[in-house]
Amino acid sequence: MKVEIKDLTFTYGEHAVLRGATFSIPTGSFLGIIGPNGSGKTTMLKLISRLLKPEGGCIFLGDRALEDFGHKELARTMAVVAQDTTAAYQFTVEDVVLMGRAPYIGRFQAETAEDYKIVHHALEVTGCFHLRHRAITELSGGERQRVMIARALAQEPKVLLLDEPTSHLDIGYQQEILDLVKKLSTVDGLTVVAVLHDLNLAAYYCQELVLLHQGKIKAWGLPHEVITAENIAEVYGTRVLVTPHPVFGTPQIALLPGTRRREEKQKAPHLHLIAGGGSGGELMRDLTEAGYYLTAGVLNVGDSDWEAARALDIQVVAEVPFSGITEERHRENLALVAKAAAVILAEIPLGHGNLLNLQAALAAADAGKPVYLLEEKQQKRDFTGGLGEQLLAEVKQKGIVVREKARLYQLLKEKFPVAGMEQEKGLSN
């Protein structure tokens, strides 16, 4: 059954929760509603399930307006799985699922054999049949969630609404529940609308997504159209990295915690990191999170350190892939070194191509700036036949050798405290 939402508005007290939302879900499709807390997701679901009355706009199930349905008729057409499934009363699982037949049974009628058949089928589909004589209060969160879905199925609905069906479950159950819901839409032709918290799960399971932002639809479309770094940054106020799922290609989100805006960071102490070959990624993350204004150089485009810098929005002096550092890049690097309060030399492998990076560190030391050398692994890393070793020894003599990162962070904290550093809120999940 097709579900259409047209120009829906809803106000709670003074506060406009939904401000004109329009979208539709074709029969047998699985649509996910995503958005930050307070964006109107649950309100939207309550409007569709008629728990709330819209202020403006309308909702159609098939070709009939939602308000034209009778109470029981609506329950035979649409089933809802609520977010909170806690149960205080000791009904058996079978009794609970049998309640799904309530819209089919008259006030003075008893359940028929047919009702029991439907209930048992729903229990089997959701893998709850073996639980049928257990009390609902004894079940785990995942089992209870499955029972609630079984009850919804016993209603034999054409539309299924779910409000964060996986929010209290561990990943095994999350997957199990969503696999089941997906199958109900693709195999049984149920039209599914689910409010989902987890963007990766939403992108993976849903055919279409609606992204809500302050009561308005920010985006509606295929997962890769909706889940973009720009949309997420704008709606959730957090920078993320959107990459394709390694196997299926659906968009997946990687969090980049603690990434503040560049202007804001520039007030913090400026540290310049000399890295390369994967030696700097972790340092970049930690120092950015600690609130420093970090720059880096010289890195080759495509190098994993370069990727990390780009993801963390760190200003970088970049050289073309697989080539030695040119004089021009070296000068740019020296310019950043000159502006920095201190220089950190990561444990980089030394080759003829990057000896200029050591020169840059040396220049910093000569200019009287503290130069911290991280030496954690202390393995052979000179591939220049002694030249690198010699330069490194010189830097070591003028700089400060640190054996572990924690110690480095402590030294930096003492010497360059970050004022007013507060933890940035990441994507809660």
Binding site: L74, A79, Y89, M99, G100
Partner: protein, 345 residues
């Protein structure tokens, strides 16, 4: 629950109730064997006069005019209060709700006290005046408690109990005032208030019985809706229950049953609270079984409570409300302690 088990429970409780009625009728200042009691009842019901030829006229009168109506009324009141308790508890999804704790009983009592006051003081009278005043009082109390307790459209346990206490205290002040104003005639109000079945007879039975029967039928008709409501109001709506209508019907029904019971027997507390609880432990939360079972257990319970009330200090009688309070209060405390973790301020 299986059909066989249900049948077993009903049969057993019916047998217990019949035996209770017979034995309770037999017990009293004048000892009359249950066999004679049975003979009198059968003779009167079937107009079979030979059956009681050898029994003295006075004994027949004691059984038929004094003891049996009192015992039957006790059974009816007990069933009514238990049913109302099941109704309120199910409707409010609150195990601590009963006609007494949520103030409906106090409201009915105030209405009835006012009726007695008006009748004795200024001779204002009309048929069924006390029950009608009791109904009005019950509904006004229900209205006040609900609106006091409501926070953002919900009725939490704590505020409901607090509102019940507040309204009940206020109403008992009103009753005290009425008693002071009544002066010499306060005896009538006091006698009625203390919750007893003394001097009650067949007319009172005909007041309570219709409300009990109709109320029971309405509650049973809504038993499935009550079950679904236990899963939460929103879930109930999603399952096709017309929640607002159901709530109105059930509140009115439970209040009517309560008011009818209170209007003839005064304030008998705790029956509506403890009986549904005790029964639920055995039958589970399904209202289709809980309602009839609670009614049967409540009936037997109050009859026995009344037996204790009229024999324990014989020849002095004590109000049956004292006995139910002695049994009920400790149980209530036990429940509060058990439910403590669920109650958050």
């Amino acid at each position: 629950m299986s059909r066989k088990r249900k049948l077993f429970i009903y049969t057993m409780l019916l047998v217990v109730l019949v035996i209770t009625v017979l034995v309770a009728t037999a017990i009293g200042a004048v000892a009359i064997p249950p066999s004679e009691t049975l003979r009198v009842i059968v003779a009167r019901l079937t107009n079979w006069e030979q059956l009681v030829q050898d029994i003295p006229e006075t004994t027949v009168a004691i059984i038929w005019n004094l003891r049996l109506p009192r015992v039957l009324l006790g059974a009816l009141i007990g069933a009514s209060l238990a049913l109302a308790g099941v109704g309120f508890q199910g409707l409010l999804r609150n195990p601590l709700a009963d006609p007494f704790t949520i103030g409906v009983s106090s409201g009915a009592a105030t209405g009835a006290a006012l009726a007695i006051f008006l009748r004795q003081l200024i001779g204002f009278n009309f048929p069924h005046m006390i029950p009608i005043f009791a109904f009005i009082g019950a509904f006004m109390a229900l209205f006040f408690v609900f609106n006091l307790a409501k926070i953002g459209g919900q009725v939490p346990v704590v505020t409901l109990l607090l509102a019940g206490v507040v309204v009940s205290s206020f109403l008992s002040a009103v009753i005290s005032l009425l008693m002071v104003l009544a002066g010499e005639d306060m005896q009538g109000i006091y006698f009625w208030l203390s919750g007893g079945l003394v001097m009650r007879s067949w007319p009172q039975i005909w007041i309570v019985a219709p409300y009990l029967v109709i109320g029971f039928l309405v509650l049973i008709a809504y038993a499935r809706d009550l079950n679904v409501l236990l899963m939460g109001e929103e879930t109930a709506m999603n399952l096709g229950v017309n929640v607002e209508q159901t709530k109105r019907v059930l509140l009115v029904t439970a209040s009517l049953i309560t008011a009818a019971a209170v209007s003839v027997s005064g304030m008998i507390g705790f029956v509506g609270l403890i009986i549904p609880h005790a029964v639920r432990i055995v039958t589970g939360p399904d209202h289709r079984i809980l309602l009839p079972t609670s009614a049967l257990v409540g009936a037997s319970f109050l009859v026995w409570a009344d037996v204790v009330a009229r024999t324990i200090l014989a020849p002095q009688e004590i109000p049956v409300g004292i006995i139910t309070a002695f049994v009920g209060a400790p149980f209530f405390i036990y429940l509060l302690r058990k439910k403590k973790q669920e109650i958050r301020l």
